[in-house]
């Protein structure tokens, strides 16, 4: 089992003829993702790495049948339109890769997705990867690296930083373990499936035995995970590391989400809340593999 995707997930790539769309379609196909169609308005009839390109999402569905997930690689100003198109066509899971999607666009996508019973990762996400099954987005960069760096196993990884998503998982693999699913929730202040949502999915996933979470300053995501643990909704062990200790209040890093607002959202608040709730909070990133080992081997 894995969360959100597996080897059978039928995937549509929106913006498939662009620079990123083409490159990542190659990665996804080579890794084993079931990419069945692509969409670029005006470029219908072409093929990208053997994947047929259509003008609209509905046209793709008419020809290819049901689509389970859409991976969006269109430029940021066009993401809202692309996401609405996919959601309206009945696609229930989206991965919004682009960075710099306007916040109010994300809010509208979230509202529409909720109305239509759809879920989405991102925006500003590297995507999701289930070792040996499928990748949506760009985790790993190329199939060969993705196969070397990540292995199937019991660790569910969720991260707010793209690079760290791969880094944590790589070090876990290197320590001799594997991952059930690796998720980059996205770097923005508002994302479709934040940490608490992903942690809940890992809780339900029989293959996941331990959850590793990379948090960052800003937003209330990590505090809400602490609440889930306190309420008993999450009982699997959660190992957490919170980045941004060096950040002064008000100093912002590239992630729009890393903004310190009020009491919640600070490094201290997140660490304290998670510790109180009973999560394993490590002080250094490199301690994560050791913590995984302790939890899994008792």
């Amino acid at each position: 089992m894995s969360i959100l995707i597996d080897g059978k997930t039928r995937v549509l790539v929106q913006g498939i003829t662009g620079r990123e769309g083409m490159t990542r379609t190659k990665l996804m196909k080579e890794y084993g993702t079931n990419v069945v169609a692509g969409v670029t308005p005006g470029k219908g009839g072409q093929e990208v790495h053997g994947v047929p390109v259509y003008n609209t999402v509905k046209e793709a569905i008419e020809h290819e049948g049901q689509i389970d997930a859409a991976c969006v690689f269109v430029p940021a100003p066009l993401v809202k339109d692309a996401a609405f198109e996919a959601i309206e066509a009945g696609i229930k899971f989206l991965v919004l890769v682009p960075d710099r999607v306007p916040l109010h666009d994300t809010l509208e996508i979230a509202a529409f997705a909720k109305k239509m019973g759809a879920r989405f990762l991102g925006p500003n996400t590297l995507g999701i990867l289930s070792p040996g099954k499928a990748v949506l987005g760009m985790i790993g960069g190329r199939a060969q690296s993705a196969r070397e760096w990540f292995r199937p196993g019991p660790v569910g990884v969720t991260s707010r930083s793209g690079g760290i998503t791969s880094a944590i998982s790589y070090y876990i693999t290197k320590a001799g373990f594997g991952e059930s699913t690796i998720v980059h929730v996205g770097g923005d202040a508002v994302v479709g499936l934040p940490h608490p949502e992903i942690v809940k999915l890992f809780q339900e996933d029989p293959e996941t035995e331990v959850i590793v979470m990379f948090g960052e300053i800003g937003t209330t995501q990590e505090e809400r995970v602490a609440e889930l643990i306190e309420k008993g909704e999450v009982t699997k062990p959660v190992i957490a590391f919170i980045g941004g200790k060096a950040a002064k209040s008000g100093t912002r890093f590239s992630h729009a989400g890393a903004i310190v607002e009020g009491g919640r959202g600070t490094h201290e608040s997140k660490v304290n809340r998670l510790k109180e709730a009973g999560a394993y909070v490590v002080d250094s990133f490199m301690e994560i593999p050791e913590a995984v080992k302790k939890v899994l081997k008792g």
Binding site: P75, D99, P102, L107, F112, A167, E216, F285
Partner: protein, 521 residues
Amino acid sequence: MARLFEYQSKSLLKEKGIPIPRGGVAGSPDEAVKIAGEIDYPVVLKIQAWVTGRANLGGIRFAENADEVKRIAGELLGMKVKNFTVEKILVEEKLDIEREFFAGIIVDDAEKSPLVIFSSIGGTGIEEIAREHPESIAKSHVDPLFGFKDYHGRELARKAGITGKLIIKVGSVLSKLYNVMKSYDARSAEINPLALTKDGNVVALDCHITVDDYAVYRHPELGIEIAREFDRPATELEKIAYRVEKKDYRGTFYFFQMVEKVPPDGKHIGFHGAGGGGSMMSMDAVLNAGFKIANFCDTSGNPPASKVYRAAKIILSQPNIVGYFASGSGVASQEQFHSARGFVKAFLEERPEIPAVLRLGGNFEEKAIEILHTYLKELPAGVEGYGRDDSPDFCATRLKELVEKNGGKPHTPKPYSEYTPKEGEYSFETITGRIYIDHELCDKCETKGCVSECPKEVLKIENGRAVLNMDPEEVKKGKCTECLACEIYCQFHGAGGLHIVLPIPGLKEYRERILKEIKEG
């Protein structure tokens, strides 16, 4: 978040129909007098700065006549508050206030929707009021697909204890404030206080709006120079960096100075991260090693080599840094040799006499490290490349050793120079620069490796010379990704006739100025 000044925020309120005091913004005492003359005395003068508690800082003053306006304006303009030098003041009519309210809208990340907050008690210390008088506060989430209407506003006013006809005016202000937020892509909009005047009007006395960085492109009318959150005006170098980012949307480039002038304390290093999380982790490592950080910089999201090159040139424009540290997550999805070539070009041009540790872990890191070590080996203070199995802590310690070995020598930037082509030299445009090829040197080249090095087959050989292999318009639009492979090959293994010029507007003048300052002590 790009912050707007009070006077800018208020002009947006006015445009959407929220009453504000009469007045205007002044940049000189004479302007202030002129504005005051158009409204009735007494007037209030308010410094325009991104700080809270302006009244306690002496930044809000009252004047009864023109002489006072002139004197006080003179005192306020040029005043230093925190990191700010006051350049503008707002001159407004002083209103008689009956009551003060608070109105604000933020985005609630948990609910993924805007949250309108109204308090029937407002003014300073709103956080305390919220704690002590929770009954005075009402909140409501907004469905972004539907909007926030007048009746939503009235309901919110009612819940916060407003009665009678006042409900209509308050409700209208709240829906208009949401309209401002949505129309201008604000991340937050706050009126505090929202005042009820003695003559029965509801007026916004102070207002703070921050605009979403990612949506600034939709609002050229706001004139936002640099769409980043700062608690001070942007430095010249930050503006230069921001212009680079604005022109090139491939990948991310962010540059922020922790100190505008790096002190010669032998502790500050230039920091070049990749990715937010990896950067934070790497910064923690350099701080733990006892360094201080002169600047924060991030090039990530699969940036072209040209962007990494420009970032490195900008970082190396800071005098007195004693080392250069680049490190990201360590397991980057992007092909790291692109970044490596960006570093090579920048470091060969700058030839810094400070050591550098560049941790380029991720895809093709072996190739990336080999590129660094092959082409930068003769640099005097050492450039070392590392990969995913070398921790940030190890790399930071390594930089420390190299800095010590170098005697903590401070960096001095070189005058900015660009390749000068010969008259009529063959050239073509790329997405952010220009490639020059000296065909006389091509004639002497035996390898012609520039052609085989190019992954996009941009070049071909015609009569023994490298020329374009495609429509120049395609190349300009991005077919040439500015990976710099052809230039590095040509300079080291060919006849040296190929040059890529990647301009950084403003950097030449900046370097001239700082070098002059150094010379003059």
